[in-house]
Symmetry: C2
Subunit: 443 residues, 2 copies
């Protein structure tokens, strides 16, 4: 029998766009990959994890609960640690519009509000923040529904949309977040075509964006919430703002920015997702989020069907690392490390890249974003990419990060350059090789 | 705005049927729960897990890969361990139709076939077998599609179907597996109504079934495969057999039975799911499965969107436990333990339950199944359940384990009694309390 029994989803789900890149990397042992979003290997907290796990598994009193079933939304201690952690991040971060004076005057009121916004009962623990993104889309999106995304955006998020039959509409990105004028134009256009009722959410990566490194200012967050609310009446339902903060703690330069949760009146519209995977260790795959109702309940039920809850043992590892302060020590260490590696890449780019390549530098995360002049293509089939591959250096072509949006041509002249997993030596050598390739094709 | 933006799935996903039972248990401190499917607490491998994790995290060489991203389908070492593990289970298990002589004559051929059937490249590692069940249904089922299930079956599987808009049709269960006559009648009926093309799979729990404790004989597995294949032409596509073997290794009596993978010609139709959670530790939440194409590829892509792959650290814990033989030691220990607890429950049932209650005893797993005479109801609102609750003892009402199937009235006179998590003392006391309640309502 040649016909298969797959569902529409089973049939349409495409292979991940970079699986081919990954395989290519494996088959060329001398290849330097600036493509992978892996984190730095030498700083992974091996010793620290051993210490914490020995503590958890030292006695039956703490060991047994860690090895038993738990609560679908996550273990209470980790949810409470996470709530405190987020509250601390949001309190120490700056909102550039607020002066010291105003801060002190409204402190009491704000702290009360923050307690509600960051209440541990709104926190859910998931298998990386990826699982939370997935389940949020399950709870919000029917086939044909629309999610607004940054142009460009995180390509695995685009894969989820594709798999689930959801449509993406791109909104232009500026150096400090979404182009609010373009967002308004897109919403107007969707209203005009009668598609606004299909718009369920806007997804953005608030900190050190993947792939561009852009951090969205708090003013922009405020502006986005205002615009979305403005169009809700025409949509006939809430339009959620989904803030992905996966890279927030990989910050080596500049002040932190408040999350969208802190935009006044946005508490019931913002879904905030974060992760311990990137700042601590991807192999632990523990993420978290803050969700408003009725989404929290819907996602919790869906998670019960997925897996009853994230593995307790990993939750206790993270709770232990947070409670003992070891987590903070580790984050301080990797901030320094990534800062150093970013510096190495920056210097190499200045030395080896043609001056007419526009470089977007970031104060955190894992990426530089490079834009070639005159629309010299960088895609998988381009001469630039193929020559780079022959010269044993790999990057992520920018075109993979753009939604299939009929409203515009997909830009294809950019590249994402990661300093996450490559060694300093390989960053220097990889950028040198890539610079040589670019000099051939850029005059 | 009162209207929500949830998807159909977000709106329809019901709360888990036993969440209310669980909460009730928490609010009555003296309550003895024979409801929870939790595993035995005192035998959880705390010391063993500490040992293995110390081994994994002892050096950067093994520690760093365990804390880094990995492969979506699972780490190669654990996939290989798992393939060998399953091959060993299927080789040592008996097919009651095969004599020693035939075994030796066909050994070479069978071993070659087994190598293919249990090839590690067909193995996928998931977040418990629950996640694999979920993703398999994503890959196979569109809204309105039908999955045949045992009557009764695992209630969380029914929750997944409900959430995803899939329909369940129940097939009667006998003491050694599905009633093949009824299966054929159901398939005929579906063919007659034109709904056969919506039937994507038959789901059954092959070993020590949840909730009844029934183990399906190999002959029945052979019979099921034969019937499903017979109706495939009319369906217009393959009908998969989804064998859930979650309880297989919790076996304390009688020989093991070969999995449906071993039914001749069934290799491309059987999806086999198993787990390390129940025999090792639920808090590690590592499951696995063997999938034929094109399902393997579809599910792998879907898993990439869910979480990129199950946490490496947990995979290395399980691989370490398997490689060192500690896993086998642990399974031997808990087999003995559950055997003992089952014996305690059996004796208590004999002593305290009215003789006209039919008890289904099992050679493994976590459950006894009790059927009351004269259709005395046992549901959440019944006098039996409410009185039991007042007397501080909890069971799972049988009705929760039946699909919403318009073709028959839902049976409501049964109860699932778990000896998994309760202590021996509480098993005795709980059954005594329940026996007293039953004596009130049964003459």
């Amino acid at each position: 029998m040649k016909i298969d029994a797959l569902s529409r989803m089973g049939r349409r789900t495409a292979p991940p766009p970079i699986s081919w890149l990954m395989q290519t990397a494996l088959s060329r042992p001398k290849l330097i990959s600036l493509a992978a979003g892996f984190t730095d290997n030498p700083t992974l907290p091996v010793e620290m994890s051993r210490k914490v796990l020995n503590r958890v598994l030292h006695s039956p009193e703490t060991g047994r609960p860690a090895l038993q079933y738990g609560i679908t939304a996550g273990e209470t201690n980790l949810r409470q640690c996470t709530a405190r952690h987020l509250q601390r991040l949001d309190q120490s971060s700056s909102s550039s519009s607020s002066s010291l004076e105003r801060k002190s005057r409204t402190r009491m009121k704000n702290e009360d509000e923050n307690d509600k916004i960051h209440s541990w009962e709104r926190v859910m623990i998931t298998g990386g923040s990826q699982q939370l993104l997935y389940m949020t889309l399950e709870a919000l999106g029917d086939e044909g529904d629309i999610v607004l995304v940054e142009d460009p955006t995180y390509f695995v998020f685009l894969s989820i949309l594709q798999s689930r039959g959801l449509r993406a509409r791109g909104v232009r990105l500026e150096r400090n977040g979404l182009d609010l004028g373009h967002l308004e134009a897109v919403l107007q256009q969707l209203k005009k075509t009668g598609e606004l009722r299909r718009v369920k959410a806007l997804y953005f990566i608030g900190y050190f964006q993947n792939p561009t490194g852009v951090t969205t200012s708090f003013e922009k967050k405020r502006g986005i919430v205002k615009l979305l609310k403005q169009f809700e009446a025409a949509a006939g339902h809430p339009i959620y703002l989904l803030e992905d903060a996966a890279y927030r703690e990989l910050r080596f330069k500049g002040p932190d920015v408040k999350s969208a949760l802190l935009v006044p009146g946005a508490m019931d519209r913002v879904i905030y997702t974060g992760t311990y995977s990137k700042p601590y260790a991807p192999g632990t795959r523990v993420g978290f989020g803050i969700l408003p109702e009725p989404l929290f309940t819907a996602v919790q039920r869906i998670k019960g069907n997925h897996d009853f809850g994230t593995a307790n043992l990993l939750q206790q590892l993270l709770a232990g690392a947070l409670e003992t302060g070891l987590y903070d020590q580790h984050v301080a260490k990797i901030e320094k490390r990534y800062g150093q590696k970013a510096q190495v890449m920056k210097q190499a780019l200045a030395r080896h890249f043609p001056p007419n390549v526009e470089i977007w530098e970031s104060g955190g995360g894992l990426y530089f974003w490079a834009r070639l002049p005159g629309n010299v293509p960088t895609g998988v089939k381009s001469k630039v990419f193929q020559t780079a591959l022959k010269n044993d250096v790999l990057y992520v072509p920018g075109e993979l990060c753009y939604a299939d949006d009929p409203a515009r041509k997909k830009p294809d002249h950019e590249m994402r350059l990661s300093f996450g997993s490559a060694s300093e030596e390989n960053i220097r050598e990889g950028i040198k090789r890539l610079g040589e390739v670019l000099r051939k094709f850029l005059s």
